[in-house]
Symmetry: C2
Subunit: 356 residues, 2 copies
């Protein structure tokens, strides 16, 4: 336990791109927040695949060495910059803060907050005992959640919400196909589909995760190594096919997705886990007038109105007990490298969280 008087703290940094072996836990000085900034005492960090991609040097942002990493944290505000209450420019602040009008509460010491994607990872990465962040990148979270759960909320649920609800306009009666449904985004999608009254059809490569997917909210689970996806989906949907698909695999599986898609269906591709190239099944696309939409959560996090709609949906769902982040496994900060390695093994169901 580090006390408030400590002058240094431990953070994870790396000096070159590579595998988990490049990561170092280092003792560094605790800095003071500047104008418009806050210092966070980190309580929990949810790991993302993008953490690995950033570390490997393949992310949208390139690391500036020595680089920190980590996006999604739950934390307590430990210090605020002097000018925080009178920020001249809030144009980069998410709508959730900016537009609270008379009820807007400035961030203050002791607040329980979540971090929002979009900041400079090398400078502000949250994987450490403290970090400094621009105040526009933190928001309060519902007190129904533990810090570990809270850290696992935003990225999975906002990513799913953006595709299925905001773009896909999912409603009761829709059939939705999910691939890689045991990922944290997949599990969030299962809950959102369930909350909407739509029907979730999850695919999984082997039967190992079948029961866990059913427990997580899947209405049907198709084991692709044992069952034919096309005939099973036709059977489940009475021949109608699925109106929405939420796919992070692509590759050769896209053909089966288009074959089980209903006329005019929307297929969201938000990942490319398949190793082989993805051939576009043009004739099926044209005959059924299918939409293939490349999707990332960037538009959810960067568009203030959309972000606010998403946060309102999520926080209402959490307060009503309908949505709840699923944590696959918790690790201590001392085990952080093992935690990152475990995430990359793809054995988990839900989020890997490092707690402090």
């Amino acid at each position: 336990m580090i006390t408030r008087e400590a002058k240094t703290n431990k953070v994870v940094r790396f000096y070159q791109t590579g595998g988990i072996e490049v990561l170092k836990t280092e003792e560094v000085a605790i800095a003071e927040p500047g104008a418009g900034e806050v210092r966070l005492r980190i309580q929990a960090v949810a790991l993302n695949r993008s953490d690995a991609i950033f570390r490997e040097g393949n992310y949208l942002q390139s690391p500036e060495f020595p680089a920190r990493l980590g996006v999604d944290a739950a934390a307590i505000v430990e210090a605020v910059g002097l000018e925080l209450q009178e920020l001249p420019d809030v144009s980069h602040q998410p709508a959730f803060h900016r537009d609270q009008g008379p009820n807007r509460k400035p961030i203050k010491v002791g607040d329980n907050v979540l971090t929002l994607a979009g900041f400079n990872l090398s400078q502000h990465g949250v994987l450490g005992e403290t970090t400094i962040l621009p105040a526009s990148f933190v928001i309060p979270y519902p007190n129904q959640l533990t810090p570990a759960e809270a850290s696992a909320l935003l990225t999975p649920f906002l990513t799913s919400w953006g595709a299925l609800i905001d773009y896909g306009q999912m409603s009761q009666g829709d059939y939705v196909l999910l691939t890689a449904a045991s990922s944290s985004v997949g599990v969030a999608a299962l809950q959102i589909i369930h909350a909407t009254g739509a029907t979730a059809i999850a695919t999984t490569r082997n039967s190992a995760k079948k029961q866990a997917l059913l427990d997580a909210g899947a209405d049907y689970v198709i084991v692709t190594s044992e069952e034919d996806v096309v005939s099973r989906v036709k059977e489940i949907t009475n021949g109608k096919g699925v109106r929405l698909a939420f796919d992070s695999v692509a590759g050769s599986g896209l053909e089966a997705i288009t074959n089980v898609a209903a006329q005019g269906a929307q297929i969201f591709i938000y990942g490319a886990l398949a190793k082989e190239p993805t051939i576009t099944p043009l004739w099926t696309l044209m005959a059924k007038e299918l939409n293939i939409r490349g999707y990332s959560n960037y538009e959810v996090f960067s568009n203030p109105e959309r972000f606010e709609r998403g946060i309102n949906y999520l926080y209402d769902g959490v307060r009503n007990g309908i949505l709840k982040p699923v944590i696959a496994k918790e690790f201590t900060f001392e085990e952080v490298v093992s935690a990152l390695g475990y995430m990359e093994s793809n054995e988990q169901m839900g989020k890997i969280v490092v707690t402090f």
Copy 2:
């Protein structure tokens, strides 16, 4: 000239699938229209690529032998079935007819009409001196058009309208990329883009059709064998990229289209002229949140409300002199087989029409 008293007429039929050599011009008896049907005296038939695909046995409908063919005709109503005025079931009739309310005029002998895609081609194909059609598959056309022009109106313009206007919500200031812009659909798209005040960027393989495309309304023409599509489009759009693409080629060209697409752009694929497979550029799709929409005109012709919106747009455009079908070449009925061969050579710009 065949008089009203003639008992037989010439029609094109085929008895097996294949190339243009399977087509025969035959003298057959003129039939009387049944309940809800009309007999048309054909004046002009616009040829479509789907005529060839149907003849080859690769169309959505399979030919029933002996099979007629041909979709788009301008014609005069020569006879109407006895019960036409009191049809019990108009559910299959396009909205343009069904919903004219007090002003609705029943189809009568002497009307100038166009035929609408969707009927049984083997039985009712329009390539012949007369044909019988359900009355729900004919509509009047604006008298500003010659029969040859009228026959070339619906398929090209409704196809372009459906993608660019109805789905794509094209507006002034949009940049639109067109491939295979010398096709009849491409030429119609150029006119619709021009009418909207958007900017049309057409691509063509060699410089042979460059001037013709500029004359047809293209704001910019990129000759792909001589110029780099990506840098040219960046230059033209001041780095913004195109918000809409209307592509009938796909294949390896899709990568360049996604590279010149603006954030959130819509790419309509309505054909697959390329011989090679179409690899989906997943990362560009996700990074820019692009939509690839498989498109056919089926949804325009089969949805009554959409069809009526499209017809109103087209007919207004024709009456105002803004839209006008472009005829590449006219052939006589005696030259019908040459006409089909010429269409399949891809040398033309606009529609091939057979006149009677």
